[in-house]
């Protein structure tokens, strides 16, 4: 929107300069273009409840120190691909996480690898990479507090939002 209005300003300026230049002579020859005022707006709507429910249940889980997708994860991601193909405007935030074990920076990198491996799968399935952003919270945003394998399992994940 902002870009288009500045274009209008540009044309306005050009015509004013043309007018000023020609003002001193007797013959006025002007050449103007009125740009089309076509404006392309973008609406970001909340994902529908149904979509939200599918995405909420599409959290992808990983093994310790791994960013490999399991066959179960791939099944889940296929549903996400279908959803994205139906709703062409939908964009995704892929948020990678790690469990609390190990160092924070390594886990930040690990979470990033996890979200990128989800994003790679989606791109390989024909979706445009401009429709998704892969980020990581490392171990900073655990889903479950607790220092045992059952908590860690749930924290090694990529959430799709």
């Amino acid at each position: 929107m902002l870009k288009i209005s500045s274009k209008c300003m540009y044309f306005l300026q050009v015509s004013i300069i043309a007018f000023m230049l020609s003002a001193c002579s007797s013959l006025k020859i002007t050449d103007e273009i009125v740009p089309s005022d076509g404006v392309q707006g973008i609406t970001i709507s909340k994902k529908s409840k149904a979509t939200q429910i599918i995405l909420d249940s599409a959290t992808i889980y990983f093994e310790y120190d791994s960013s490999r997708l399991s066959s179960e994860s791939i099944k889940t991601l296929k549903d996400v691909v279908e959803l994205m193909k139906t709703d062409k405007a939908m964009t995704l935030s892929l948020q990678g996480h790690a469990d609390e074990r190990g160092t924070r920076e390594y886990n930040l990198a690990l979470g990033q690898r996890r979200s990128e491996s989800v994003s790679s799968y989606l791109i390989a399935s024909g979706l445009s990479n401009s429709r998704m952003e892969a980020i990581s919270y490392g171990e900073e945003r655990p889903l479950i507090l607790g220092s045992d394998e059952s908590s860690w399992q749930k924290n090694r994940r990529v959430e799709i939002k």
Partner: protein, 427 residues
């Protein structure tokens, strides 16, 4: 020289509030016996300074404070200091402090240190400071006494930075604090609802770098400690993290997470130019600069598990050298100040994470800690102590380990404390 340093320290010290509480867990086996002779002035001011001084000396793990030296006459019959009397008390050193007040706002602390065995005075110093900053006067005296006896600088006057996390009614708050090395005198540098990780001091301790998630992804900021002014160091669409300063303060080693492949770069702060250091499809992160500035250590998973590697900056592009082989997890290494070794996080065969130390002359790592999830070791600038975070049963606290064996805890009075970073020397 000392005066200038003291004044610059005055800028961030008003109250004596403590967040972290000191608990002594373990002392050394063979401490040095030292006595502090109370010569004059039982005022509150001299008591405060005296308490800080004693606490500092005990915390070094090197000293045992012997009370009751005042029962011995200060001078013998020849009007010289009573070394014989001190020897009878089994003292190794005696400190004689003296306090006076040049005006209403300032304090002069003079102190002399005597070697009882050699029967000679080994230090006579004067510290000038403001009454609003009594604790730092005590810390300066402690560091001077430490240095005169041990031969290398004390770190009581240095600072510790740490992240405090709290969650009340599902409202998460992250606070970046700095405090004195004994946990007192804490100051808030940054408060945020978004995670803050990886705080790092600049070599002159005037600036700090850290990772904040406030824009939705990890980014590195540099903040001036005394002015609070801060800058995003590198505008990027990808995550940027893990800052480590070069010893001359002109460069920052950082990790750029491009397309899920984190690589380490050196960022020149002046013109923001980047030099790529690593080039591998595995995880490369957690750079740490050696004190001499010629080497960088980092964590890489290129062998299949996280291990420490080292790059000589004179030969960038050559294969980094792997330096740890103990078990399947060695990460977040940092060099000892003398470069003779490094500390890191090591995963034991039982699957617990401990702080480990490896000397270059040795082929094995020493496991220094024993909780289940120890992390974020940071070495004091004199190389004598390691501060690290302990996470056990949902409790996070800081612990300080002396290489001579003594250990202290700094549990927080509120929230969880993590990611301690020890400043450089400030005296």
């Amino acid at each position: 020289m000392n005066k200038v340093a003291l004044f610059s320290a005055l800028f961030f010290s008003v109250c004596g509030l403590s967040d972290l509480r000191l608990e002594i867990k373990k002392g050394t086996i063979d401490p040095i016996n030292i006595a502090i002779y109370e010569i004059n002035n039982k005022s509150n001011i001299s008591k405060t300074i005296g308490d800080v001084l004693r606490g500092d000396l005990i915390r070094t793990g090197e000293f045992k404070i012997i009370d009751g030296v005042e029962i011995v006459q200060l001078f013998d019959e020849k009007s010289v200091f009573n070394f014989k009397g001190w020897k009878m008390l089994n003292l190794d050193y005696v400190v004689i402090p003296e306090i006076d007040f040049p005006d209403n706002s300032s304090v002069n602390l003079r102190y002399r240190v005597f070697d009882v065995v050699l029967e000679k005075e080994i230090r006579a110093s004067k510290i000038f400071g403001l009454r609003s900053n009594l604790r730092q006067i005590g810390h300066f005296a402690s560091d001077g006494i430490f240095e005169s006896i041990l031969g290398f600088p004390g770190v009581a006057s240095t600072k510790i930075m740490y992240v405090n996390y709290s969650n009340f009614n599902d409202e998460e708050t992250y606070k970046l604090f700095i405090s004195d090395s004994d946990g007192f005198n804490r100051k808030l540098l940054l408060q945020s609802p978004y995670p803050i990780i990886s705080p790092a001091w600049s070599p002159d301790s005037k600036e700090v770098a850290y990772v904040s998630f406030e824009t939705g992804k990890a980014s590195v900021y540099i903040q001036n400690v005394s002015t609070g002014r801060r800058n995003l160091v590198l505008k990027k669409n990808t995550q940027v993290s893990s800052p480590s300063w070069s010893p001359n303060g002109k460069f920052l080693a950082i990790t750029i997470h491009e397309g899920g492949n984190p690589e380490i770069y050196i960022l020149k702060l002046k013109d923001k130019s980047l030099t790529r250091l690593t080039n591998h499809y595995s995880i490369d992160t957690e750079a740490n600069w050696s004190a001499k500035g010629n080497k960088i250590m980092f964590t890489s998973s290129r062998s299949g598990t996280p291990q420490l590697y080292e790059i000589n900056l004179r030969s960038i592009g050559k294969n980094p050298k792997r330096i740890t082989y103990e078990g399947d997890y060695n990460a977040r290494g940092s060099y000892l100040p003398d470069g003779n070794g490094y500390v890191f996080v090591h995963r034991s065969s039982e699957g617990n994470f401990h702080i480990a130390l490896k000397y270059r002359r040795e082929s094995f790592a020493r496991i220094l800690t024993e909780a289940r999830l120890d992390e974020s070791p940071s070495v004091s600038p004199n190389g004598s102590m390691i501060v690290y975070a302990v996470s056990e049963d949902g409790i996070n606290k800081l612990s300080i380990l002396n290489i001579n064996g003594a250990q202290f805890d700094l549990p927080s009075s509120e929230g969880m404390v993590r990611e301690p970073a020890w400043s450089g020397l400030v005296r």
